[in-house]
Symmetry: C2
Subunit: 354 residues, 2 copies
DNA sequence: AACCACTACTAAAACCTTTTAGTGCACTGT
DNA sequence: ACAGTGCACTAAAAGGTTTTAGTAGTGGTT
């Protein structure tokens, strides 16, 4: 391992000088060009890499650029969201790579909370000054109390959860309303709902939005079934089967699912039952996952700018880390309905164009 | 921040004693039960959390239990693989949580290598003794030289790449043969191929397997088209359009894609062209991604035990970290064909059962 | 000649933990 | 009485970096 002292020896100077040159810190200290070059060259030749442990020990993480993404409940279905969050965070870091000198992109940390169902372990992460910023996603309602009580030593941004810390969110009620209103506008009068057993805050909001629209339209609350288990698609498949086995007159002509994975599970069930989408039952999801546009039929869904949100969350963290921002920030992102072929008017009144 | 010395004061003892008690290290040192209890209680009361930086500075990471998952080329499509790898790694850590005392699950680190296209940044990660084990995935052929040249200070396991380090792999040629042979057995005589522009080692192997089968069967090499860009589904969609626009007599009756995301892109193109799957064109993928079973038609694909592989890789790392194993280990995992409805005999000779 | 300002550089402390090499004490056996 | 043994505990050094407070040397003003 190459240390500062090794470079100092080779460049015939002191450890202090080397540290200043390599960390290109200003201080009130001047270094001649000759010395600077000598140090730089020696470092290059020896292949110096700073010891992060020592650096962080010195000043409790304040200089070390590391952002952690904590995923509270790594349930299968939710993991697919990670991809987009990571992509967004990376995009931001990439764009600012000069500024933040981030040779390292994102560090994401998975906190395993299967048995506890709580984020308690975070304490063990935050205290030891491991990192400089924390992006938390997938928190469940039970985590709320704990998360709110945190007085972290580093800035925190929550993904899709309102909090007294910073957050990036979408208006979940609006999402639910957009999807449901779309179905109402198409003429549906019995609109069912499929949601997962461990609903996140965002999903609860979507359900409220769904209820709002139905009440305002004076429509009956359609069957609401819960998708059980960790595998959302499978849970929704079985949930939809329960819906389908009810008597035909009570069967909804459309279902709203609180995310896209649930939607494809439900769609599979509908097809396996021998019914057509959207002619017999229309389906609308949320999230606009990667596969939504390629599914058959392509899924009507509410598009969430997940990557943009993650990029913004990362920027928030960076700003807070760099003291540019001090107060918690909340930002809500716009969403929009993407109409594809899984939704259409009831009773196949109008055949969808291929 | 609570330090060892704070606990020592409160418990009326020395820093050394506290360190020994809290780290429950044996040494050749004995601690009376009274002292031990006093220390434990003081630590509890003060809410002690060890400073990882100091700990690691002391002995270059050897005690600190952290495994890093490095994803070399975080292209959109490949990110979806992460979910399953993370899930597998977590399962293993969870199963061994007593043994490894891992309050922290997995730390996964995304190395951003967009512009370099190389894993060079890993150097900046390995040298500073950040962690104790490294699980690398998504390396591209260009990374080979660098990865092979690594003489890491920590154990390394590669995912889906043969190497002089340890690895967990599947037999890519076998994967390609399974899929292609299935199509040949169904009676297809023109079998096309869709593969991504930045093919991984595993994917190249699958392509070889495909070639093998066609040659052995004396069949012509079908059209081989490359899916361009980071979005595999989209790339495959356009690639498939190119295939479809060739004259009908040269059009394949089946296509093999080197992963499932490519498959759904191709399927979308086939349907949009007004053709049916599998009657006009059969499709077979690889990976058995989550959505494969729920797609319409459900996708025939080669199932890879990704989670098991990740769990095994994690166990390998743990064993190497704990010195139970010293030599590199290679392990190849069995795969199997999952026949669903996207594949069938050519010319719709036999209608698939719904 | 005394003082100041400025440049270029450095010694040493601090950050917190782990581990080696002890110390002091109470017994035991001769 | 004295070496030997085992127990319970501790002082101090080490690990690599950053940063404060300082030194030495030079040139320029009063």
């Amino acid at each position: 391992m190459v240390r500062l002292v090794d470079i100092a020896k080779r460049a015939n100077t002191s450890v202090t000088t080397v540290s200043i040159v390599l960390g290109n810190r200003p201080y009130n200290v001047m270094i001649s060009d000759a010395t600077r070059q000598a140090v730089l060259q020696a470092a290059q030749e020896l292949g110096y890499a700073p010891d992060m442990a020592a650096r962080r020990l010195r000043h409790h993480g304040s200089d070390h650029r590391t952002i952690v993404l904590a995923i509270a409940h790594p349930i299968d279905g939710r993991l697919s969201l990670i991809s987009r969050i990571v992509a967004g965070a990376q995009r931001q870091l990439h764009a600012m790579r000069e500024e933040v000198q981030a040779s390292i992109g994102v560090i994401q940390l998975i906190v395993e909370t299967y048995e506890l169902g709580q984020l308690q372990q975070l304490r063990g992460l935050i205290e030891p000054y491991w990192f400089n910023g924390l992006l938390i996603t997938n928190t469940s309602p039970e985590d709320d109390e704990y998360v709110e009580g945190l007085t972290p030593s580093v800035p925190i941004v929550l993904f899709q959860r309102e909090t007294r810390h910073s957050s990036v969110t979408t208006d979940g009620e609006h999402v639910g309303r957009l999807a449901t209103q779309h179905l109402v506008d198409l003429g549906h009068r019995r609109i069912g709902l499929i949601y997962p057993d461990a609903a996140s805050q965002a999903q609860e909001q979507r359900i409220r939005g769904y209820h709002n629209v139905l009440q305002q339209a004076g429509l009956p609350l359609g069957p609401e079934v819960v998708a059980l288990g960790r595998n959302w698609a499978e849970g929704a498949y079985m949930a939809m089967q329960r819906v389908l086995s009810s008597i035909a007159s009570e069967r909804p002509t459309a279902v709203f699912t609180t995310n896209d994975l649930l939607a494809i599970g439900a769609m599979r069930a509908i097809r396996d039952w021998g019914l057509r989408i959207p002619e017999h039952i229309a389906v609308v999801g949320c999230d606009d996952a990667e596969f939504a546009a390629y599914h058959d039929p392509p899924l009507t869904t509410v598009h969430l700018p997940i990557e943009d949100m993650a990029a913004r969350a990362t920027l928030m963290l960076l700003d807070m880390i760099r003291q540019r921002a001090r107060v918690p920030m909340q930002e809500s992102f716009p969403v929009h309905l993407v109409i594809r072929r899984s939704s259409g008017p009831p009773n196949g009144a109008e055949e969808p164009t291929l």
